[in-house]
Symmetry: D2
Subunit: 401 residues, 4 copies
């Protein structure tokens, strides 16, 4: 449904063409200094009309916070917020009264609900993600202040143009193979990449030459009244060990759930992902080593920061696949709702490629998951810490306090 | 935590070396004819010791049903069941008192809980999946009887050996590229594959020649005291349209959550998945066409049966990546819990490759998700069906009853 | 937290003095004809300033629906709505900067969150109930149209003035004893009472003479700058049998949870309640009898329509106790936040008695619970109905279809 | 359904006559020293056959712990446990094949599920509570060790025999009026009562003379082949302030939900309850005062330890009403399932009064609620404590750290 999370919880509402879209963010830790501007920054990174690569729907997406904050400090009570739908042009979609758009949600929403919104796909709209981004901005502000946690996502492929796994070494960049999580260069990138570096490119791919090729690929799709997909890679740094709940709520299961709930996603992998299934255990295992802070770390990080469903303190990284947008302007042979064959050419304004705008959405969902899991684990850790010392266990079974 | 589902709900308990593992399955529709044998069949497909490809832990895994069934019929009340842990040999793991196994859950469980089970990774054990498989067997029996739904999973890769996308055409089988969801041959395979065909091969890859190469690959890993990963592909046929709850509980999000909660999984993709992100929308969109049953279908199925997070009535198929098992017998350079460098050679009995035994687990989680979503959607559909006809809506916004 | 419900779900936000209060109502059946006016009617019954018995805060409480409805029909997607806080006078509460109001939430909110809203008790405000009432108005519209379900609450006591159990027989009305659920007169009242009859009295007690005495009691409290409590009784008619989920989510447990979440409530009883604990089983048991519609009914209804946690088709009735409002204008000896003894005289505008305005809130929460349980049970019933006939059970164990 | 709780979660299974009843307790803090005996103590207080006041079903109710504990210490993983149904005599109930027992769950279970257990009311059986009591015993052991929390319930009425509110002053004991929460004597009783004192009487009423009258009342019911109801009062001492989640999950709402999920309950009140609705606010408000520990306390405790849905650190006390058991041996005029009028005399073994055995069940549900709420609040408190100091708030809005 429209609610996500256990202790940090976001509930959203809103279709493409209604009065507003909004969210209620419940469970935000009290005492957090937070301004509307903290939220606005990420909303503005998500909004359409940022460059010639995105839809010309130019909406300012100004957030209006309704509750939960006084004098710039969170009260611990639900934060209600909304963004008005300024640019409503429902007439653009009139032909979709007859045709369900292929691979869009028009048909399935009608099958599910028996009625449909004038926009067709109901909540299956990019505007639905505004509430997520707002909630994520709040979550990540907490995570940054309390834990120094950093979340940075970037575009790792557009169509067949992939960020080389050996960035920043430029020699291999013609090798458009799937990205390899394992090179020292890639691990270094994950360890240092910043949002500023990501935003330096309109495509949000942090490697300038690859980014330029991606730009050309997107423009080619746009000119052809077509669309193209891509992938977003995200890293979360400084997450404490111990997050994630066995067995059904493993950290990667919650993360995968969150990512696959973003519109247009079809794939998710953490750490070495599908590629790692081809590597023998003897190479794939991440050996332990003592770190400077006195805790164990791993020499490699094929696990992507999660082992047995629980974070191990290493960088968490994952990749999300976004399909090519279903709504395209070129004519498509398809059938009407009543089965009559015909051809649909969707008017309206559409993104030829969603991944640049998907970057803050992926970051937002990551922040929501991390904060929720952090609160749950803190509940357990605090509870265990209040018990008297264990006297009956063999020493190897107990972690020194 | 250890509970999954909203209306059909499974809760499990049990580590590797405790008295028993078990589950409580709540929300099973009443009036379902069900015997212990219906559950046992899938448990036996999951159990170790089935062939020389799996761990020699030979446990019969006999299920004992405690409640919820009388005279062979479900009462609608919770079904309690358990499987005793017959073969407990905790001493095998004694060296892991000192070493956390690399890429296993030993370290993270200790970080999370501050204490650890003698087996190390606590619930991060293959035996934990017994409760899932039992619950799934019950769910799929309902789905089969009430809807004719069929769920079949199979091994689609072991290491770099991939089931060719052009099966049953044998010419391309030397092409070990990632499987392509798009060939007519592959779509035909999805439409017809049966469990009998899958079980005809010890690897559970339904293509004999590929299966033989997979067998050799697994034996090679076993002989090298190493391990190897792989992927499982699963198809769900005859699922009604309309399942899946926007926005956070999209069908693929729930499915991905369920699959990524299975031990050793690192990746999930539905339909065209990552491969599909490289295909332009004009080719990737699934055009609609009138089917013989009077409903709309699609000419292709890159969507994998889900659009906008809601099922569209086409075959649902997805692929799950399992990493190479972390527990291997060869010596690994790593550190002890206290940071002392050393080398660990795990004794005990381990699967060199988990994907053959993962097949019934993937089927089980799929069945659980489908039944839960089906119950939820039936609640909505039944509710909407009781309302008086809508008088104020334009006809194009209403589905004819 | 701020979300209630499983399949029909309401999430609310808003304190007393923020920009607005609002709610997201998720899971409303699609295809329901619904206007803002349907919601407004109940909001207006809840709002302050309706008579000289309530707080002079005169807020129009106009609802603004944001999403989920087009052309006057629900889409099945979340209904976002809000009511602006027109009359914000935070200065009225300035003395509470020093003093936590006795028996109010000022102290506990500060203990819980470490910060507090300027209004003191944060969400512990009557305005928080606006979202509930709006959600309830939507739920009850569905229930009325689809099932003919009627929900009517009324004031059954103010202080020691109780609605006589023998209404409409006027002779006993001087007997201010606790109401007796068992007289034929009271059962007849439950079976026929309407909102119009309830609203005919400013106190919302449907018995004119008792109502007049209640009015005098409230005015006496008001004149004394004091407050007084009371009880609200509610009946739900035409609820199908079979609602309620054993074992932790029995119908009365869900109903009790919902009612005890309303501000100022301290007590809940269903059917014969506390009084019934004094009656022997031989008298208290509700004998079965065949009803005109061919189903079993009961000759008495001490059970209040629920047996074993499941509805039996009879009228559901329950009683909710509301304490005397904590905020009073007369001076109270108490301590400041820092422990300094002193005296607090709260300024501001307060209800001397909340029960007349609580009536639509009780109705709203009842409607939310019934719809949620109805959706859940319909999921089960529909699922069971799709199974083949049971062949192995003794006939006495199966309900004829 | 059969699962209760958010972070501390219990799931149960089992009918009256199946192989076993059991529970999975998930979320128990790790590192808790816990033996089977800790659980057995409360199970033995709950079991039948303890005295001539209870059913002669003499079941030992030995608990078998399956998982989650090693070397007498909890691992943090789910604790599976079960109790075998030793004494199954389904034939006793054969007449209920024709007759639904009046006010029992036979009819409603059949209406809900369409099939019924041979025992009639399915899970609506006293044996269902075994899982609750086991979970509660674990919860309260944690609460005692980590917080010194004490939970003591006792019988406060049987039929019209009420524990005098002025205990231990014996003069008023002939006054069988409803108990008054407000006398100093009663408050002193709540502050000191122990389980040993409670168990000193077979009726579990801690006042010997009243207890003796209760015993006579129960024996009278038993001799008449009838039954009688009663109330249980429970106090929870040493609960920290700040527990309970606004708005729908107020502490008393969770507590009420938990209590009203116990079989045969019809009523719940916290603090002054229904009686308090009759007292003006000026008398009912609990004035604050500085306590010896430097925190605020209240001079009276009409609130029952909860204000605004959040605990305030004072003793929490509440009362639960249990109806007279529905199963009685004397003949009752009623109808068969098919509507045929007749008379039913239930054979079998039944409790003439459930309240003595209900005492440990009430304690168990109280412990489960408190631990769950404590874990949730600790998550929040820990999270807030990690934030930098608030700089922008007026000092009156912040609690000194």
């Amino acid at each position: 449904m429209s609610t996500y999370g256990t202790l940090f919880r976001v509930t959203t509402y809103g279709e493409s063409h209604c009065a507003s879209v909004g969210a209620i963010i419940d469970g935000c830790p009290p005492g957090l200094e937070l301004s509307a501007q903290d939220v606005q920054v990420q909303l503005s990174r998500r909004r359409p009309g940022q460059s010639n690569l995105t839809t010309p729907r130019d909406e300012k997406d100004l957030v209006h916070i309704q509750s939960g904050i006084e004098h710039g400090v969170t009260l611990g009570t639900p934060i209600g917020l909304l963004v008005k739908n300024e640019d409503q042009r429902p007439k653009d979609y009139s032909e979709t009264d007859l045709y369900p758009r292929p691979s869009h949600a028009d048909y399935t929403y009608l099958e599910k609900y028996g009625v449909k919104a004038s926009s067709g796909g109901g909540r299956s709209s990019a505007r639905e993600t505004i509430g997520r981004v707002a909630a994520g901005a709040i979550a990540e502000r907490y995570l940054k202040l309390a834990y120094g946690i950093e979340i940075v996502a970037f575009v790792s492929s557009v169509g067949k143009i992939h960020l080389p796994s050996t960035v920043p070494t430029p020699a291999n960049e013609d090798d458009d193979t799937a990205q390899d999580a394992l090179t020292p260069e890639f691990r270094a990138l994950l360890g240092s990449i910043t949002r500023a570096e990501v935003d330096a490119q309109p495509t949000r791919c942090p490697h300038a030459e690859t980014a330029e090729r991606m730009t050309q690929r997107i423009i080619r799709a746009k000119d052809a009244m077509d669309s193209i997909g891509g992938t977003v890679t995200c890293v979360i740094r400084n997450v404490p060990s111990g997050l994630g709940e066995p067995v059904f709520d493993k950290f990667e299961a919650k993360l995968g759930h969150a990512m696959l709930s973003i519109p247009a996603t079809k794939a998710f992998e953490i750490g070495s992902g599908f590629r790692g299934t081809e590597v023998p255990g003897s190479q794939h295992n991440d050996a332990f080593v003592l770190k400077a802070n006195g805790k164990l770390g791993t020499t490699t990080n094929w696990s992507g920061g999660v082992q047995g469903g629980i974070t191990n303190g290493e960088d968490i990284y994952f990749r999300v696949g976004f399909k090519s947008p279903a709504t395209i302007s070129q004519s498509q042979a398809t059938a009407q709702y009543d089965g009559t064959p015909g051809a649909l050419a969707a008017r309206g304004r559409h993104d030829p490629c969603v991944v640049p705008r998907a970057v803050p959405i992926v970051e937002a969902m990551a922040a929501i998951v991390v904060l929720d899991e952090l609160l749950i684990q803190n509940a357990r850790r605090t509870a265990a810490g209040l018990l008297p010392p264990i006297t009956t266990l063999p020493p190897t079974m107990v972690m020194p306090k």
